[in-house]
């Protein structure tokens, strides 16, 4: 029982998802936002249950709760909350408000919560599948749209391939060590090399290939360059609330699991290979993501490429996992803070794109001309999110980038320089939208925008988060730093 108590939030969310499925079956298809509010309520209840469980290990070490997992669970729940809240115009288009859509979002969130709470490779794999399989379905949810079906199919095939690569890597680690528990596995690798901190040549080679497999598998899930080719098509084709969920929650889950795995692996992996491999991926993601984003004319595609670039920034925090600032490890804390900033800014930016599409029926950047004159509120909120994504103070995005660069500077200053330079490029395409909204005149007068109430909740909360955490970042970064004391548990 004590074991199950630790799992309470996951169980509540799972039960809520099942309940919404049942309720959707018995309920008549009446429209309105009832199901949206139900989904939001379920997420909020789950969020409140998280602090009640406490910390600990359960089920023989396959499940545990530590501060890092609690933090990331909150991020995933936040993303699910905002994604559900911005779904009303999608449901209108589908002419259906059955529960399956929300059940899938909630179950994917459950998968992410399991994913961040484990240290064992089989559980990690099952949880990862539980996270991505609902997302395949959600990406193809607009069955009337060919683009959406294409997105779902592409995501499914590449997801399956990347899972196969990941599994191959996992099987090699098991073959080398005889255990699937991450800490034990890497501990045994160290023992095999007779207590030396570098591995013997033989173990090293198979181990490095296993690690490359894992990096490639996670690289696909995170859409890192050069494994990113699927991302823009999927992000553009999927329904927009799903895209926002994909870009924040699934990326967060991938980064968190990746960091958890590799933090244990680091001592036996050797600093050299590690830094070169992941650092190169980070630099490629930042450069290619940002430069390609400049060329886009569609808001969703632009945000897709910018999210590839953001994954690159996250990786800077990630290569500097063992870096310490004032004797406290700072890499993980900077990743956690970056995810928080990215949650508010990116969910908000997508919500703005949804609001714009609902009123003016377009995702093209050129159609944003003169928006500030007709709906100043929408233009202002969108501006706030874009500036936060670009990293302009006092928005939270500024501190996120600052902490990431601070963590990376001691050992990876070349990466930080690449990061700063590409941030400047990113400012160009973010500011381009702001310019379209404020300074370009439109001949045809846009109608005044109307919002539905769940979308307003999303926009208000994300704006509040973006500004408040930008003004008071200390409490979060302090929590993140303390969380790290017990990071690998």
């Amino acid at each position: 029982m004590a074991d199950l108590r630790l799992m309470l939030p996951e169980l509540i969310l799972f039960a809520w998802a099942m309940m919404m499925l049942m309720y959707g079956v018995i309920r008549k298809n009446v429209g309105g936002n009832t199901m949206i509010y139900l989904a939001m309520l379920g997420v909020v209840i789950t969020g409140f249950s998280i602090p009640m469980t406490g910390y600990g290990i359960a089920f023989g070490g396959t499940f545990f709760v530590d501060k890092v997992s609690v933090f990331f669970k909150m991020i995933f729940l936040g993303a699910a909350f905002f994604a559900a809240a911005s779904s009303s115009s999608l449901l209108e288009k589908l002419k259906s408000d059955h529960g399956e859509y929300f059940t899938l979002i909630l179950l994917s969130t459950v998968g992410m919560m399991f994913l961040i709470s484990t240290n064992e490779l089989i559980t990690l794999y099952v949880a990862l599948e539980l996270t991505t399989i609902p997302l395949f379905v959600l990406a193809a949810y607009r069955k009337d749209s060919l683009q959406s079906s294409e997105a779902g199919l592409k995501y499914l095939i590449l997801g399956a391939v990347s899972s196969a690569i990941l599994l191959y890597g996992i099987s090699m680690i098991y073959g080398l060590t005889g255990t699937t528990f991450i800490n034990l596995a890497f501990g045994r690798l160290l023992e095999q090399s007779l207590g030396m901190l570098t591995l013997t040549q033989e173990v090293n080679m198979a181990f490095i290939i296993a690690m490359i497999m894992l990096i490639a598998g996670f690289g696909f899930k995170l859409a890192l360059v050069p494994f990113h080719m699927w991302a823009p098509d999927v992000y553009e084709g999927a329904p927009t609330p799903v895209t926002s969920f994909l870009s924040v929650a699934s990326k967060g889950a991938g980064v968190a699991a990746f960091a958890r795995l590799f933090y244990s692996a680091l001592p036996s992996f050797g600093e050299f290979y590690w830094g070169i491999m992941v650092g190169t991926l980070a630099a490629a993601a930042m450069i290619i993501g940002n430069i390609t984003a400049v060329l886009q004319s569609n808001v969703k595609r632009m945000l897709a490429y910018s999210s590839i670039a953001h994954a690159g920034y996250l990786l800077i925090g990630f290569v500097s996992l063992p870096t310490t600032v004032n004797d406290t490890p700072f890499g993980p804390a900077s990743i956690m803070f970056y995810m928080l900033a990215y949650l508010f800014a990116n969910m908000g930016a997508f919500a703005c794109a949804i609001a714009f599409e609902k009123n003016y029926g377009s995702y093209e950047i050129k159609d944003y001309q003169g928006l500030a004159k007709e709906s100043p509120a929408l233009a202002l909120t969108f501006t706030i999110f874009l500036l936060s994504l670009a990293g302009i103070p006092p928005m939270v995005g500024f501190f996120a980038k600052y902490y990431i660069f601070l963590a990376g500077w001691p050992n990876y200053s070349w990466l930080v320089i690449v990061g700063i330079l590409t941030s400047v490029i990113s400012l160009y395409y973010y500011a381009n939208i702001v310019k379209q909204m404020y300074f370009n005149r439109n001949e045809t007068v846009l109608a005044k925008a109307h919002f539905d109430s769940p979308l307003v909740i999303t926009l208000v909360l994300t704006v509040a988060g973006t500004i408040l955490f930008g003004i008071f970042p200390e409490s979060v970064i302090k929590f993140a730093n303390n969380a790290f004391d017990a990071f690998p548990f």
Binding site: F59, T62, L104, L107, T123, V126, L130, V137, Q192, M205
Partner: protein, 166 residues
């Protein structure tokens, strides 16, 4: 003797797997897939993994491939639907990468500690139904239960995708 059986079974498995992907007729593909699975069963038996071998026959060869055949029959494909070979732009590059990867993994595995572990003496009950069951329902109980949620998601997703109007 053992080596001869191993070589035959693995060569058959590799050849059948290649045939699966270069066949244009889906029925023939499924049949080659079956051949590949059966030759893998021989490998599993040689590795003392009796339970896995049974599962492979019952679940994969028995249930899943029959489902494949049913789906292909329902699609009612004709010979002209099979289509032409797809021209892949990066085919030479992909083949080169695959060969390099094959070479690397061969070298890495053949020189690693995995071989020593493989040559170690196994406990007598290794691979039996009881041994697998004990592992599955004690140490791996939680991921095992987690797969039930995964199955719900898969069923739900399939229904959502297949049904015209929900």
């Amino acid at each position: 003797m053992e080596l001869a059986i191993f070589l035959m079974a693995s060569a058959l498995s590799i050849a059948a797997s290649i045939l699966v992907i270069i066949q244009r007729n889906p029925i023939a593909s499924v049949m080659y897939l079956l051949t590949s699975f059966v030759s893998q069963v021989i490998l599993f038996i040689m590795l003392n993994a009796a339970f896995l071998a049974m599962l492979q026959i019952i679940v994969y060869a028995g249930a899943i491939l029959v489902l494949f055949l049913f789906v292909i029959m329902l699609l009612n494909l004709r010979r002209e639907d099979f289509g032409k070979d797809i021209k892949l732009k990066f085919k030479p590059l992909a083949i080169a990468f695959a060969v390099v990867l094959l070479f690397e993994t061969t070298v890495a595995i053949s020189s690693s500690a995995m071989l020593e572990r493989a040559q170690a003496q196994l406990p007598p009950e290794f691979g039996s139904v009881q041994a697998v069951g004990m592992e599955l329902f004690t140490k791996y109980l939680y991921p095992f239960e987690l797969t039930s949620i995964l199955l719900i998601v898969a069923v739900l997703g399939a229904v959502v995708m297949a049904k015209k109007r929900l």
